[in-house]
């Protein structure tokens, strides 16, 4: 008869990932590289917003982008046209990136000499919120057609984000979307979130967002 024992653990299933993410952040701090984790549902305008962001910051910062998708490389090709260093990561069916996958992506991108690396996470409002990638800050895009009640339906995503960009403001007149109600719903989940309405297509609100990002990068790299 084998001698069995019970280990009382009481630790989160995400403990190992959180440990890896913390290590990655420390290494990025030493290298003076700022990693932004950008999340949204599919079709919220991540790639267009990213193109505007790069164009707004590329004179001041050296930028790299990791495009995470389940398959294809259309996003990485679009981004590389901006002149930013871009690589495509395939998650092999997984709906999110964890700290280990982010580390592998960074090794592929080679962030030495870059100031800002943006991770475009897989389009999804559930799983990416659960896995700390090792990013310095988390941002998400909510687009007007998705509805102002999304912060109530996906509370975790909104609670972990430092910035929420409300995109597609140009189509606001055509949707039953109450901007003030949406802001209120976001603040219920996260009173500290910075909320910036934008239209990536019409290039509106982008300056406020890039100013915030620029300042965050500067204070991290000091």
């Amino acid at each position: 008869m084998k001698d069995f024992k019970v280990l009382e653990i009481k630790t989160s299933v995400f403990a190992d990932n959180n440990l890896q993410a913390g290590k990655l952040r420390e290494e990025l701090k030493e290298k003076k590289v700022f990693l932004l984790n950008l999340m949204s549902s599919p079709g919220a305008g991540k790639t267009t917003t990213l193109v505007r962001t790069i164009n707004g910051l590329k004179d001041d910062l050296k930028i790299g982008v990791m495009e995470a998708d389940i398959d294809s490389d259309v996003d990485a090709r679009t981004i590389s046209q901006t002149g930013a260093k871009a690589i495509q990561l395939h998650t092999g069916g997984m709906c999110h990136l964890d700290a280990q996958m982010t580390r592998q992506g960074l090794e592929g991108l080679d962030p030495d000499g870059l100031d800002l690396v943006i991770l475009e996470n897989v389009g999804n409002l559930v799983c990416p919120a659960e896995f700390d990638t090792g990013a310095v800050k988390n941002a998400m895009i909510l687009s007007v057609p998705e509805g102002d009640d999304k912060p109530l339906k996906y509370p975790l995503m909104f609670s972990i984000c430092d910035v929420v960009l409300i995109n597609k403001m140009d189509v606001l007149p055509y949707f039953n979307f109450d901007l003030e109600k949406c802001k209120e719903n976001i603040r219920l989940r996260n009173p500290n979130a910075i909320i910036i309405p934008i239209s990536a297509l019409k290039k509106e609100g982008i300056k406020e967002w890039t100013d915030w990002l620029h300042n965050a990068v500067k204070s991290w790299c000091e």
Partner: protein, 113 residues
Amino acid sequence: MHELGVLNSMVHTIERIVKEQNVTEVSKLVIEVGELSGIVPRYLEQSWPAASYKTFMEKTELELIVIPGIVKCKGCGRVFNAVYSDLSCPDCGSSDMEILEGDDMIIKEILCC
């Protein structure tokens, strides 16, 4: 369907723990799943054979304990189960609440030798 990714992460966490404890075989895991964790117990059970495949826990039994999603209303202070109240306070209707229990997934016990 993110349960497979959650389980993969858990396997890595347990791998580290058992290495520290000098354990060679894990016969059973007792896991607490919160009702507000966004993780579905039924999908965890279905994904476990795939997540443990070709790992040291291929034969390990998975026992799940569901933890109720208990919250406290920030408006009136009422404590209630958020899932059965459709995420709003049954007394004052507020949806501004503090989670007291049930928003995590915890490795409670590892039975091993």
